[in-house]
Structure formats: C-alpha cells, structure tokens
C-alpha cells in the first residue's frame, strides 16, 4: 500500500497538548512541512516564545531556544548573525509579539534581519487564561475586558501586518488563516514562501496566521472557525501586502 500522508520529518513523534479545535497544531504542521520541503530540518533553529507555543521544542525535531516573553525576534537576530547559513524562525503569539515584544519585532523587521517570523493571532492571551490582547476585537469579551473591549479605554486592535508592511526591511509580509481547508492550502504556500525568502537571503519574512482559541472564546471548534470568517477576517483582511521577487519559483 502506498503511503500518501505522514508526519513531517521536522516534527517530533509526540501528541499535541493543545486544546481541541486550537489552530496551533495546524500551524506547527505547516511550518514543519515547509522545513521538509526545502530539507532544512538539520540546519534550522526555532525560537520559541512565551504562551501556548512555548512547547515548540517538544513538537519540532529541530534545535530550539526558548526566548523570554516578547524577545524572540531579538534572540533570533543574535542567533542568525552567528549562524548565517542556518535557518532561524520565531513562532510567537499575539500577546508575545504585538504587546510586550512590539519593539523587538519592529526593529528586527526594519533591519531586514534574515529570519522568518510566524505570528499566530488568536485575539486573546491563551495560556494565561483568556485575558485581553492588543489584537482583541472591539466589543470582544475577555477576562480583563469582561464588558467587551472599549476603544475609549483600551484602544483599537493592532494590525501588525499592516504596520510591518510599511517598513523597508521585510521581504514578505502576509496574513493568512487556517479556518477552512482552502485557507490552509493558501497558508501552506505563503509559509513556504516565507522560508524561501530566508533561503535566498531576501531578509525578514513575516506571516500572520489568524487562529482560533475555542477554550478562551467559549466556543466549540466549529463556532470558533466561523468566528474567524465572520469577525476576524473582516477586521484583519487576508493577503500579502509586501513581497520581494524570488529567484526560484515553486
């Protein structure tokens, strides 16, 4: 019998701890598929962030450094400056990247550091139990915005992709989602392209992935996927805002 589907080599043989319906498992797999596609596993360094994705090192069969909260892009810069022929990626949530780590990611992007940043935006702090994030939508309830996010008090949901696309440094800035099979296929292509940018030395590549958190949204996985379509995508539109030309097409 011919095997048509298997675990990517860049993934460890370990069951995910993520909640049912959480998108981290899908995004992990898409990253691992990209590493496999370019045969990068043995020369890749992952930088884990603080949040639900801190256990990156349990699931990826690559060397991993765990960064302090928000500092993944700076850690990645340090690693990449030494290991220039290696592939360095960070994997960060929206609390990590868009709140406490805003300065680090903006300056890594602006320097055009030749790293890849996977930004998983689920509009809430997952690991700490559902607090308001900078990406929480207006009116969205969380444990620290129990009456809904109010722009008069809390400001507006931050659009990292649009912000970073305004800089000269990045090679690729794109927003994708994984709430439908069609969106997963598109996300797979963009994430692969982000790593190709790094391989070809084009500089900082950034993919924002709209993601679900059924547990902290108080929804079923199916409802959570629907919420991404109904509420998140209208505010956080999908698409590539910046893209340098690549040498090899794929």
């Amino acid at each position: 019998m011919k095997q048509v589907f298997k675990r990517p080599e860049s993934m460890a043989d370990k069951p995910f701890h993520f909640c049912p319906g959480c998108h981290h498992g899908i995004v992990h797999r898409l990253v691992a598929e990209a590493l496999d596609y370019f045969q990068l596993r043995e020369k890749t360094i992952g930088i884990a962030s603080v949040g639900c994705s801190v256990f990156l090192y349990d699931y990826f069969a690559v060397d991993v450094i765990e960064a302090p909260h928000g500092r993944a892009a700076a850690v990645a810069t340090g690693t990449k400056r030494v290991l220039r022929d290696h592939i360095v990626f960070t994997y960060q949530g929206d609390g990590d990247l868009a709140a406490i780590g805003t300065a680090e990611v903006i300056h890594a992007a602006n320097r055009g550091d030749n790293i890849t940043v996977i930004f998983v935006n689920n509009s809430i702090y997952g690991m700490t139990g559902g607090q308001m994030a900078p990406t929480t939508l207006l009116g969205q309830r969380s444990t620290t915005s129990p009456y809904g996010r109010d722009n008069q008090r809390d400001g507006y949901p931050i659009k990292m992709t649009e912000m970073l696309a305004a800089l000269e440094g990045p090679s690729l800035v794109s927003r994708v989602a994984v709430n439908t099979p069609g969106n997963v296929k598109k996300a797979r292509k963009v994430i692969r392209k982000a790593f190709q940018m790094q391989i070809e030395g084009k500089g900082f590549s950034f993919v924002e992935v709209l993601s679900s958190c059924p547990t902290n949204w108080g929804m079923t996985p199916v409802e959570a996927n629907q919420r991404i379509a109904d509420e998140m995508i209208p505010y956080y539109p999908l698409g590539t805002l910046k893209e340098r030309e690549l040498v090899d097409s794929f």
Partner: protein
C-alpha cells in the same frame, strides 16, 4: 598569559574592548549610554576587521536577548552598558542563569537612582551580586581597579563564563572607563570554547535536537535545576575566588574596598603604614564569589575592619556576614556623586585606628 603585545596608552573602556577581541569575542550587541560609549565605538570600528560583527540594538532589552541568541551557539559574545541599561537587562540576566548560557556583560556604572549622573559610583553592588532579576541565581562578578586589570579580567570573564556556563559581569565605573593609562595587552592561549560542547545550538545535523530552556514544569524538575545551579555557585567559591591582600599579616586593622575605591585606598593604606599604623588591605576581585572565607580567617586574628565604598553601605553587609561576630566593622560611604581622595581615606583610617586600636 601567553603572548604579550606592545604596550599601549589607552582608556579603560578601550582596554576592555581590545581585550574582548583578543579573547576571541567576534560578536557585540549594544546600545549607547555614557560613560561606556568607547566600548561599542571600538567594537564597531574593529570587529569588521577581524571577521566579526557589531550590531547596535534598539534597546538594552534587545541587546541582552541578541546576546542570548548568539551565546546559545557557543561563540564568545559581549555587551556593555551602564546603570539604566543594566537595569533593563535584568530580565535577560535571569534567563541567562536559568538557561545556563555563557557571555560577558560590562557595567561601567554611573550614579543613580534614576537617570542619576554620569560620574563614578559603586551603587550597583547589590544589583550585581544579589541578583537583580527574578529567581534564585548569581552572576560571576569581577571588579577591576586599573586599566591593566580591566584588560586582564575581561579575558578572565570569558574563561569563567565558559567554565561555569554563566553570565560574567565586569563591574567597573566611570573613572575606570575614562582614565587613560599604559597597559600591556596580551593574547590568551584559548580564544574560544570547545566546539564539542553537548548543548550548543548548531542545527540538529546527525544528532538529536537540542533545546535551551529555563522552563521546568514537571514535578521536582525545577527544584533539581535550582540545586544544580547552587552546586555550580559552590564550586565557584571553592575554585575561583580572587582577591588581593596587602600587609594583613601583622595588621591591627584591615581596610576592605573594591574597584576604584580600593585603588585610592592603596595610597591611603601606604601612607598609614609609613606613619606607623598597622593597617592592611583586602581587595575583593571577585565580588561573587565573595572572598568570605579569607575574611573569616583574617578576622580570627585581626578584630578591626574598615570598609569604604562609593555608596551608602552595600559590600559592607557581606563583610559583616563573613567576619566572626567579635569583629568591629566601621564604614565610610560616599554615595554616587563624588569620589573620595587618598587624603579623605587616610583621615578615615587614622580616626578609625585611633578609636578602635589606640584607645582600646
């Protein structure tokens, strides 16, 4: 020392930068702050000439984390700053301790609190030796007192960092950084760590993937890790305490000071000796590990101690903890803002000596 080079007349800050490059440091990440800017400026000019890289970070928070990312690969890396910037790095220091990564940080300290001033102080002693970040950890802290020692201890800092997988802090101050003096540079035999170390992050080629982490959630793992760190700190205290001692054998009173104050104290102690006062000097070179065992030995015979610092009393607490309970410890402190002269210190020695030794 293996290979002495031509003597140079240089600023303390440049001596540190020169030593780092001669010790094999090829990566520097930092952010400008007075009074240490000659270090990044020297690195920016010289590192590209030796195949290295200088990168100016957007903040000290970023520079300490860039240092972390580079240190994980096993290369020799350094950053430098002063009080306000070192405060921002404390989070990173704690992660270096938890992650057990080697690197060198230089603090050419300036007065605080707050924005303070840009002149010398020793007000960062507690922050340096007691752990300014979260958790139960230590840094190796070296306290040079001359330009030559800035050079020598910077090289030593890289060796100790690698030996213990710890962050080593070189604690200087604005005076030491700015004074120009003749130093003799040298190149150590070893200019890098062992490439076969089993924790280096280099990509999982032909081996199992590795991780650098400070997260220990499984039952008992965190305590185990903490005991492991404490075992390293105990080893440091056994094997790598450094201090300088002068005329303590027959001393009726021992002066204890570190860094710039120790340098000034040497003149004052020499003058006191010339005038027949039996005064000795103990200068801790490692502030952690602190030479507490040697102090306890000296305190077996000599019962009078005088501590002077450019703060209102920080190291004096460690001196008191180290000495037998029947020792008298007097303190002379000048908080950040002014530097005592040899005459100031001589007067303090004479007054204390009269009170504690002659009048008894």
């Amino acid at each position: 020392m293996s290979e002495p080079l031509k003597k140079v007349f240089t600023k303390g800050n440049e001596a540190i930068a020169m030593a780092a490059i001669n010790a094999g440091c090829r990566y520097y990440f930092g952010y400008p702050i007075t009074p240490q800017n000659e270090i990044p400026e020297y690195m920016a000019a010289q590192l590209p000439k030796v195949g290295g890289e200088f990168l100016q970070a957007e903040s000290e928070i970023a520079s300490i984390n860039m240092l972390l990312g580079a240190a994980a690969t096993g290369v020799r890396v350094m950053t430098s700053s002063s009080g306000p910037g070192i405060s921002l790095m404390q989070e990173g220091f704690s992660y270096f301790a938890g992650n057990e990564l080697p690197a060198v940080v230089v603090n050419m300290s300036r007065q605080g609190p707050g924005l303070g001033g840009i002149n010398a102080t020793q007000g960062d002693y507690f922050q340096s030796v007691k752990g300014g970040g979260h958790g139960d950890y230590k840094l190796i802290v070296l306290a040079p007192h001359t330009g030559q020692e800035l050079y020598d201890l910077t090289i030593k800092a890289f060796e100790l960092a690698e030996k213990y997988r710890m962050l080593t802090l070189v604690l200087g101050d604005a005076i030491l950084g700015q004074i120009k003096e003749p130093i003799t540079p040298w190149i150590p035999e070893k200019t890098g760590g062992d490439p076969d170390r089993d924790w280096l992050i280099t990509g999982a080629r032909g081996r199992a993937p590795r991780r650098i982490t400070s997260l220990f959630l499984a039952d008992g793992e965190m305590e185990k890790h903490n005991w492991h760190l404490q075992e390293k700190y105990a080893r440091l205290e056994n094997d790598d305490v450094m201090f300088e001692e002068r005329a303590t054998d027959d001393a009726a009173m021992v002066f204890v000071a570190f860094g710039s104050v120790a340098r000034i104290a040497k003149s004052a102690v020499d003058q006191a000796r010339a005038e027949g006062l039996r005064v000795g000097l103990l200068r801790p070179i490692t502030l952690f590990p602190f030479p507490r065992r040697r102090l306890a030995e000296i305190g077996g015979d000599c019962k009078n101690f005088l501590v002077a610092e450019m703060n209102t009393g920080q190291m004096v607490e460690d001196v008191k903890l180290a000495l037998p309970g029947d020792c008298e410890v007097d303190f002379y402190g000048r908080p950040g803002g002014s530097v005592p002269t040899p005459e100031d210190l001589y007067e303090v020695i004479r007054e204390t000596y009269e009170k504690r030794v002659l009048d008894q």
